[in-house]
Symmetry: C2
Subunit: 159 residues, 2 copies
DNA sequence: CCTGAAACAGAACAAAA
DNA sequence: TTTTGTTCTGTTTCAGG
């Protein structure tokens, strides 16, 4: 298990420019990146390695278009619960982490306790997921928001 | 401008295994991937190229840890509007697309019209964003949900 | 910490089974 | 459609400024 250490690593402009280039396309050659950021191969490579080691960047991934693989439905699920004990929470978190259709899960401040982003093939598949979830853990209230259109979806963070 | 064509490309088990491997780590060599999926370099490479061309995969990116670069606050924003004209919508979408702190934006079915995922440095930065947004476009009602804890965040789709 | 170069690994493609 | 082989581009390392 990897421990999450590094709080707020200090990055200079060159680091940030490199990150920007990698977020845009991680498949670029060092030469291309060096040219974009106005530096040369070795310093770029050193900084990439430094940031990797510091945990600033994770491994690179490919973004897969959900619709081409038949995942046409996306739901945001708002969950309220009456249970707030540690034991219940562990069970709930484990259930979420185990389900690949849950792309994101956040614990919230305020009235609503949790929000999930769930990707499934269709409404029927969402219902299967929903039934399975509420049979595993007790929740007080669930609201599902169905996405009609993905206006924007960006993995890139503003630097 | 790239046109989004390909509906539901047909993928076989080998394709799916390759995608899985690439989602886990796009930086792997063809040999490693080939070994994982029980095939060899060239067929793997051919399928990757085929899937790239078909638009199944986008470019590869690195996942940057928000907290190491000082983006400590994440909000989900639920928006209701009374305006449903095409002109207003275009303005609204353009505003969202132009703001890098908006990581995701969906148009919804039902009571709530839009949901946004917004990443900023702190609550103060969120307020700046919020004020700027409502000064650009008229919205009827806005609810912000503050994330206390990111339980799960996965870019990988279930295959 | 950067520049440049040399050594090495892997990707891209072609041919042929 | 896979296997094998060749070429060439890009990564990694290292010596010197």
């Amino acid at each position: 298990m990897t421990v999450k250490l590094g709080r707020a690593v200090q990055l200079d402009d060159l680091d940030r420019n490199i990150l920007r280039a990698l977020q845009a396309d991680a498949g670029q050659s060092l030469d291309e990146i060096a040219r974009q950021v106005g530096s040369s191969k070795t310093p770029v490579w050193n900084r990439i390695r430094k940031m990797r080691d510091a945990g600033v960047m994770g491994p690179s991934t490919v973004v897969v278009d959900p619709e081409t693989i038949g995942l046409d439905a996306c739901f945001f699920v708002l969950i309220r619960t009456s249970e707030h004990e540690a034991e219940w929470q562990q069970l709930f978190l484990a259930a979420l982490r185990a389900r690949p259709e849950v792309q994101e899960a956040h614990r919230l401040a305020g009235e609503i306790d949790y929000i999930l982003k769930v990707r499934v093939a269709n409404a029927r598949a969402y219902d299967v997921f929903y039934q399975a979830l509420i049979s595993e853990v007790r929740v007080f209230n669930v609201t599902a928001l169905l996405s009609m259109e993905e206006i924007k979806s960006s993995t890139a963070l503003p630097l």
